[in-house]
């Protein structure tokens, strides 16, 4: 279990306890947190669960991107070097306290 903080583009903060094994994306969807669309449902094929990890320490601590995630991020709205697809961030105790920022929009 990890406490994940989701911050919308307008600054609205949401916190959710997300069970280990779920993705950060699923944590948002299951708790009705707006700002993550996840059109493809976690298949890494749509880039609509895009988030920024603004804390550099956290960004480095996250599991590395698998092949294809950066390719998908090319197609996201305003990707940056601290962009991740939240469907690829699998929750474990190590992620307790992670904060993700949502982009202005997903499409």
């Amino acid at each position: 279990m990890a406490k994940i903080k989701y911050i919308e583009f307008n600054g609205t903060e949401h916190e959710a306890d997300v069970a280990n094994g779920l993705s950060v994306m699923e944590g948002a969807i299951q708790n009705d947190i707006p700002g993550i669309d996840a059109d493809c449902g976690g298949g890494m094929s749509c880039a609509t669960c895009h988030v920024y990890i603004n804390d550099d320490e956290w960004f480095k601590k996250l599991p590395e991107k698998e092949m294809g995630e950066d390719d998908m991020l090319d197609q996201a709205f305003e990707p940056k070097s601290n962009s991740r697809l939240s469907c690829q961030l699998i929750v474990s105790d190590d992620l307790d306290g992670l904060t993700v920022h949502m982009p202005e929009k997903q499409v």
């Binding site: 059109d39 493809c40 094929s45 749509c46 609509t48 950066d70 090319d74 709205f77 305003e78 990707p79």
Partner: protein, 338 residues
């Protein structure tokens, strides 16, 4: 005006199998899809990715699944209307009048929406100032490449479309290719070619930059790009091309008076009918308690929706359940010789 029993919106696996079920029970259908090919997300998003959870098929790719479904409905000779989109629905005397973007018209008692997460459209530049040039000098697809001859063309993107067009247009235009990072996701041979063209100065290659603004006075003159650390550059441009893949938009479906829950359509799980009589929704676009976004669920939903359609298409007949293994009527429909 084409008269039919069912119009299916969406030629993905769910729409195709629903067509099969309609054929089996003796109904006709017409299938409309926004893409230029059959297969929906399976073909557009993951033609080569293996799928492992189709019942009785241990492993197949999106393309194989699509080809097998096309094969399966071949006996019924249904019409496909590709590169077209259902735009308007009107109800008249318990029939739906359906109009597409290309002006095709259908009259049908039933519509099955198997639209996935909506129709695929090119992802556009995220800035407001490009809108007034959209379709004129800011383009997301190319129909006539001769318009670029001897012009300055700035291409954004790192996939095959961006690379292929940069290579192609470099023969007759001044091409600048801009991409947000150093790696490209295009085919290795194209990436190699782009690097050669950049080394011998045939094209300008600028990485780690993205679009900031476009300038012009009615006619596009330049494009401003920015790096993540805030540096910017201005590049002369007659045309700006963006290749950022496709996004899925619900589009006109949202305007038909259907109940919507986020981007999905709630249905009655007995027949997958929506709040509108004669309009059914199946596959990823429908929602109900326990909904799983799996292809196999879409197959089940299509089978039940087909029976739902029968009631309105053949109001004076009683639907009779039959097995394909035993029914000679079904075998006739499939053209099977015993």
């Amino acid at each position: 005006m084409i008269k039919t029993d069912v119009v299916i919106i969406g030629a993905g696996p769910t729409g195709l199998f629903c067509a099969h079920q309609l054929g089996i029970i003796g109904l006709k259908c017409e299938i409309v899809d926004n893409l230029d090919k059959i297969g929906g997300q399976c073909i557009e998003l993951y033609p080569d990715k293996p799928i492992y959870d189709i019942p009785a098929v241990p492993k197949c790719t999106g393309e194989e699944l699509t080809n097998n479904l096309i094969e399966q409905i071949k006996p019924f000779n249904f019409n496909f209307h590709l590169s077209d989109r259902v735009q308007e629905l009107k109800n008249e005397n318990n029939k739906w009048l359906v109009r597409t973007l290309n002006g095709k018209e259908f009259e049908t008692p039933n519509i099955v929406i198997a639209g996935g997460v909506g129709s695929f459209e090119p992802r556009k530049f995220p800035i407001k100032s490009v809108e007034k040039y959209d379709g004129k000098s800011v383009l997301y697809s190319i129909k006539d490449k001769t318009i670029f001859k001897d012009k300055s063309v700035v291409i954004f993107g790192g996939g095959d479309s961006a690379l292929d067009w940069a290579i192609e247009l470099s023969n007759s235009s001044k091409v600048t290719l801009v991409h947000r990072r150093d790696e490209f996701r295009g085919a290795p041979a194209s990436v190699q070619k782009i690097k050669e063209l950049s080394d011998n100065k045939t094209i300008d290659l600028i990485t780690k930059y993205s679009i900031k603004d476009v300038k012009g006075n009615g006619i596009l003159e330049s494009v401003e790009i920015k790096s993540e650390s805030g540096e910017s550059k201005v590049i002369k441009a007659d045309y700006v091309l963006g290749f950022f893949g496709l996004i899925m938009q619900l589009g006109p479906i949202a305007e038909w008076g259907l109940n919507l829950d986020k981007k999905t359509i709630p249905v009655n799980t007995e027949n997958f009918e929506t709040n509108k009589k004669g309009i059914f929704a199946i596959g990823d676009i429908c929602t109900y308690p326990g909904k799983l976004k799996l292809i196999l669920s879409g197959f089940h939903e299509g089978a039940l929706a087909a029976r739902g359609c029968f009631k309105y298409a053949r109001p004076d007949e009683k639907y009779r359940f039959e097995f394909t293994t035993a029914s000679s009527t079904i075998k006739d429909r499939l053209g099977v010789k015993e």
